[in-house]
């Protein structure tokens, strides 16, 4: 070693890997995430990629990025602004520069800063040539130009690959370098590569060589003088793994099958960002999971409804546009009162919208998007790992109450990841399908005497209002169901005005009664002095939680509550809302939950609404909460470094600081 490297302690770091769609940035980010997870940091990730499979190379639309926030304490978001940007080409630099705070470190692959690539990114000159000059676009950043491609190609010559193939290993060089900088364990990546490229020894060798070269470059050259240490986070005891929302949701559906004893039947049509669930469940036939890739969205849910009628746990997975197509079928499931789990991994809309970006603007669609009074319970996970429990909960409600249930995930939860405390399967709720096996209704003769028994498909449970579920093959319980209004009890077609009124109210009441089975809400109000309540649902849990922490760290009071059940609302929600002077509802839409809360509880719920296709930013939200706290309490609120003013870490030059 030519010099002694400094080691600097940090409590948290946000790194963004950015490059062309073909540069392997998602893989690089995934590996860094696994290393950090195994090391024991808490972490949250945010992949961000274009809808095009291969947008034109070197252009800004073609930039793909992966952000990871890891820390020695529990964190809730993938971070607002990266401390470190790894930019593999000029487009990646340009597309991401605006998100960086001053003082951030930028590692660039100089090799790709060719005239052609600069032009594609819209640079008239090379910003790397102007470092330190008056017109330095990168002034105020710690820029580390490294010929990542060149060094990689040199490092892998012994494997005799073409230059193009050799250069492809540059992402592993970048991973090696960053792994050194942050003291990541290398074994998981070595193991991963050995498995992935087991059949192509040359490629394996090149990737391993590039990865090690990156590590050694950090350790031995004078370019990087500081190594950072982020200690493992203190987390609750248990066994953890890193998991994305789509994977957790898939596992949750498999678990629902195991815990209910029902065969799982998924009818689905591929759609971003929900397709991974269809991919994943297709692998688990060993659990009795049948997957049908249908001819369209409607057939996907149709097959699931058919399977539900036949006694399976019917599931359909899609995104907003697919829900639009399935709406009539959802109405059929409401009318026939069959168990069904409908997964909507929400994306930016309307229409095709932003297929690969996140949004939560389908809440009102889930709530009201059908003809007639067609109530559907809604469950929303709050983090990637939570998708597991939310899926089990959706299945519990569907099976117990004989109803379609909407599970509202979103693009951020789907692809984002976090450490997940793996639950004990035995601790998951047991779900009893409680199939009907016997006639349930007495036939009465003219003199009031019981003459026999028959089966009434709409004779309800007195408490839950759930109807019996008799599956074909059960002798004596033959019956017909359908989309036409049916008479209460016997279930035959009925156009009686009073019966329709009763049935509409009964179906609504059945959904409301689900609230009897819900636990009380957890209100996070540590000082118990808060006058402002922040309430959200779904994937905004992280940013809202982080924003509330910022406000509290700055010395102010704020309460937070997060909804898993959007329909019906938990029974104590009204009382909780009324306990606070002001209610703020941050959402990635133009105010859908706030509208529902206003309608239901007549509270002056105020919206905080962004639709950038990205998660809410904690610092910006903290400022908005601060303003409301100030208004409510009638005082000046200044969050200082806990708001949009940069925290001390960012202002300090890491190199200077270490001297």
């Amino acid at each position: 070693m030519s010099q002694t490297k400094q080691v600097k302690q940090l409590d948290r770091v946000i790194i963004r890997f950015a490059g062309d769609s073909g540069d392997g940035m998602q893989l690089t980010g995934d590996r860094f995430t696994q290393e950090s997870a195994v090391f024991g940091n808490d972490l949250v990730t945010l992949p961000n990629f274009p809808a095009e499979i291969r947008a034109p190379q070197g252009t800004i639309p073609g930039v793909s990025s992966f952000q990871i926030h890891f820390a020695d304490h529990d964190i809730l978001t993938a971070g607002d602004r990266p401390d470190v940007l790894v930019a593999m080409n000029p487009a990646a630099l340009k597309a991401n520069l605006g998100d960086l705070p001053k003082g951030a470190t930028i590692i660039v692959d100089t090799h790709d800063f060719s005239k052609r690539n600069l032009e594609k990114a819209g640079y008239s000159s090379n910003p790397l040539d102007k470092l330190g000059e008056v017109d330095d676009l990168l002034a105020g950043f710690q820029v580390q130009p490294v010929d990542l491609t060149g060094i990689t190609v040199a490092a892998v010559t012994e494997f005799g690959l073409s230059r193009k193939d050799a250069a492809r290993a540059k992402n592993m060089f970048a991973l090696g370098l960053l792994s050194w900088m942050y003291g990541r364990p290398t074994e998981p990546t070595v193991e991963f590569l050995s498995k992935k490229f087991a059949k192509v020894p040359d490629i394996l060798g090149a990737n391993l060589a590039a990865f090690k070269a990156g590590w050694n470059y950090g350790e031995t050259t004078e370019t990087f003088v500081v190594q950072y240490e982020i200690k493992p986070a203190k987390m609750a005891s248990g066994t953890y793994r890193n998991i994305t929302g789509n994977l957790a949701l898939s596992y949750g559906l498999v678990a629902a099958g195991v815990r209910s004893g029902l065969p799982v039947f998924l009818g689905s049509y591929p759609i971003t960002p929900a397709t991974d669930i269809l991919h994943e469940l297709s692998k688990h036939k060993g659990f009795g999971v049948t997957t049908l890739q249908a001819e369209d969205e409607i057939a996907g849910i149709g097959a699931a409804i058919g399977a539900a009628f036949a006694g399976s746990l019917g599931i359909t997975t899609t995104s907003g546009p697919g829900i639009a197509l399935k709406s009539e079928s959802i109405g059929l499931a409401v009318m026939t009162e069959l168990p069904l789990v409908i997964v909507n991994v929400q994306r930016g809309g309307p229409s095709t919208g932003l297929p690969t970006k996140t949004e939560q603007a389908d809440l009102l669609q889930a709530m009201y998007g059908r003809n007639g009074e067609a109530p559907v319970p809604i469950v929303a996970p709050q983090s990637p790992g939570d998708c597991f429990a939310a899926a089990v909960e959706a299945a519990r409600i569907a099976i117990t109450y004989r109803t379609p249930v909407m599970l509202l995930s979103d693009g951020y939860l789907a692809n984002g990841s976090e450490p997940w405390a793996i639950p004990d399967v035995e601790d998951l709720p047991l779900i009893d399908p409680n199939f009907a096996t016997e006639p349930n209704h007495e036939l009465v003769g003219p003199d009031g005497e019981v003459t026999g028994k028959d089966y009434w498909p709409y004779l309800r449970d007195a408490d839950t209002f759930a109807r019996p579920w008799a599956v074909p093959g059960t002798a004596g319980l033959e019956h017909r169901i359908g989309g036409l209004e049916k008479g209460e009890g016997h279930g035959n077609i009925s156009y009686e005005p009073a019966n329709h009124d009763k049935m509409v109210r009964t179906r609504a009441e059945k959904i409301q009664r689900i609230a009897d089975s819900l636990p009380p809400l957890q209100v996070d109000d540590p000082s118990e002095a808060a006058k402002v309540l922040v309430i959200g649902w779904g994937s905004t849990y992280g940013p809202i939680g982080a924003a509330c922490r910022r406000v509290r760290r700055a010395g102010y009071d704020v309460a937070q509550v997060h909804l898993r059940h959007l329909n019906p609302f938990p029974k104590d929600l009204g009382d909780i809302l009324r306990r606070y002077d002001k209610v703020l509802v941050p959402e990635m839409n133009l105010g859908q939950l706030s509208k529902m809360l206003r309608a239901e509880y007549l509270v002056d719920a105020q919206g905080y609404n962004h639709v950038y296709g990205l998660p809410l930013k904690a610092a910006e939200l903290a400022e908005a909460i601060g303003v409301l706290v100030g208004e409510t309490e009638g005082r000046e609120v200044n969050l200082g470094e806990h708001g949009l003013n940069l925290p001390a870490d960012h202002e300090q030059n890491p190199v200077e600081a270490s001297k």
Partner: protein, 374 residues
């Protein structure tokens, strides 16, 4: 891309895995009749089909609780309410997709779809063709009355060009589908056509359809007395076509030469014969003008559907004055549901050596890079 040769499940009859009634017992049409009042218009062809099905089902010898009828929307789609089996009256056009779910989830059910020309060929066209290509084990009864009845008389996808209806006062512009041609083009393994009023033929076709493993597609010409009366009079030899049925119906019998028209007492052949035409199709010619060897012998089992398709083209697209009736095609092909269950069953069997579902789920969610905090 990689393709895998699938393990082909044993070929069975359409109802082989469905529980039969106890030996020595019988069922009656009455047992298959529900207590619901039938509400079709007087004279509707649907009555005849319902009666035929109610009297045919007992002969199948299957347990009533293992039979499921699924329908979409339209007059014919009320059918399930009148049968005392399991049933679902679903939504417009979607019955084949729902039936696909039922048939795939359960091998022990006899699954029937009742649909119409609007339900199956217009709003539900996509589901129909995909059910046929997948060859899901079910029987689809398409009641073709060449009109929209439930919405009170608009032209349908099988209506003739120029038809005057409420939505086409100057005549319909739509070129019609020939349902049999469509089914054959969609890779159907069993395709037949019959007529509502011909109880004997209808029952024979139903029996063959139920016995076929895969999607059996049966087009049933069905008269709507209110909005499209007399549409099939030529085929039925009724009204102004009285006595002329043999000129209109081209009977298809597997292994028999295809002829129609007045029969020669000696040869049993009709006076018109189907022969191969130049250009790949078939044509009608006077039997007297051809060698008997040249007359096309019907082969419903031929692996290539081309000839069946050519025969289907003999159907009039305008007013129906001529139509081939019978089983066009009946070939064996693995069914989607058998293949799907095969994959799942093998996977379940293989997995069962690795522990209980709970143990395997525990292993699944604990797989990959994990770490433990004490």
């Amino acid at each position: 891309m990689t393709t895998i040769d699938l393990t082909t499940p044993a070929m069975r009859s359409g109802t082989e895995l469905v529980p039969a009634i106890d030996e020595g017992t019988t069922q009656t049409a009455k047992e298959f009749t529900s207590d619901q009042e039938v509400r079709w218009c007087p004279g509707c062809g649907d009555y005849a089909v319902l009666k035929a099905v109610q009297s045919f089902l007992p002969d199948l010898g299957l347990r009533r609780e293992n039979i499921v009828f699924v329908s979409g929307i339209g007059c014919s789609s009320r059918f399930p309410y009148y049968l005392d089996t399991y049933g679902m009256h679903s939504i417009h056009g979607r019955a084949p997709s729902i039936a696909t779910g039922i048939a795939t989830a359960r091998e022990d059910l006899s699954v029937w779809v009742v649909t119409g020309d609007g339900d199956a060929l217009s709003i539900g066209g996509n589901h129909l063709i995909h059910a046929l290509r997948r060859n899901v084990n079910m029987t689809i009864l398409l009641f073709n009355n060449r009109i929209y009845g439930l919405t009170k008389g608009q032209y349908s996808p099988t209506s003739e060009v120029g038809k005057v209806t409420k939505t086409s006062p100057l005549g319909s512009l739509d070129h019609p589908f020939n349902p049999v041609s469509l089914a054959l083009g969609a890779e159907a393994s069993f395709v037949a056509r019959t007529v509502d009023s011909d109880r004997k033929h209808l029952t024979e076709v139903l029996a063959a359809a139920a016995a076929h493993r895969g999607t059996s597609f049966v087009e049933i010409y069905q008269n709507c007395p209110i909005f499209n009366d007399n549409a099939f009079d030529a085929i039925k030899g009724m009204g102004e076509h009285k006595g002329n049925k043999e000129h209109a119906v081209i009977p298809l019998v597997h292994g028999q030469p295809i002829t129609f028209g007045p029969r020669d007492e000696e040869t049993g052949l009709g006076d018109k014969a189907i022969v191969r035409a130049t250009g790949g199709g078939v044509e009608v010619i006077a039997t007297a003008d051809v060698d008997i060897e040249q007359v096309l012998v019907h082969d419903a089992h031929h692996p290539d559907a081309s000839t069946a398709f050519a025969i289907s083209r003999l159907t009039d697209l305008g007013y129906l004055s001529r139509s081939p009736i019978g089983i066009f095609r009946q070939v064996e092909r693995p069914t989607y549901d058998d293949l799907a269950r095969n994959q799942v069953d093998h996977a379940v069997e293989a997995a069962s050596t690795n522990g209980t579902p709970t143990e395997r789920l525990t292993a699944l969610i604990n797989a990959g890079d994990t770490w433990t905090i004490d």
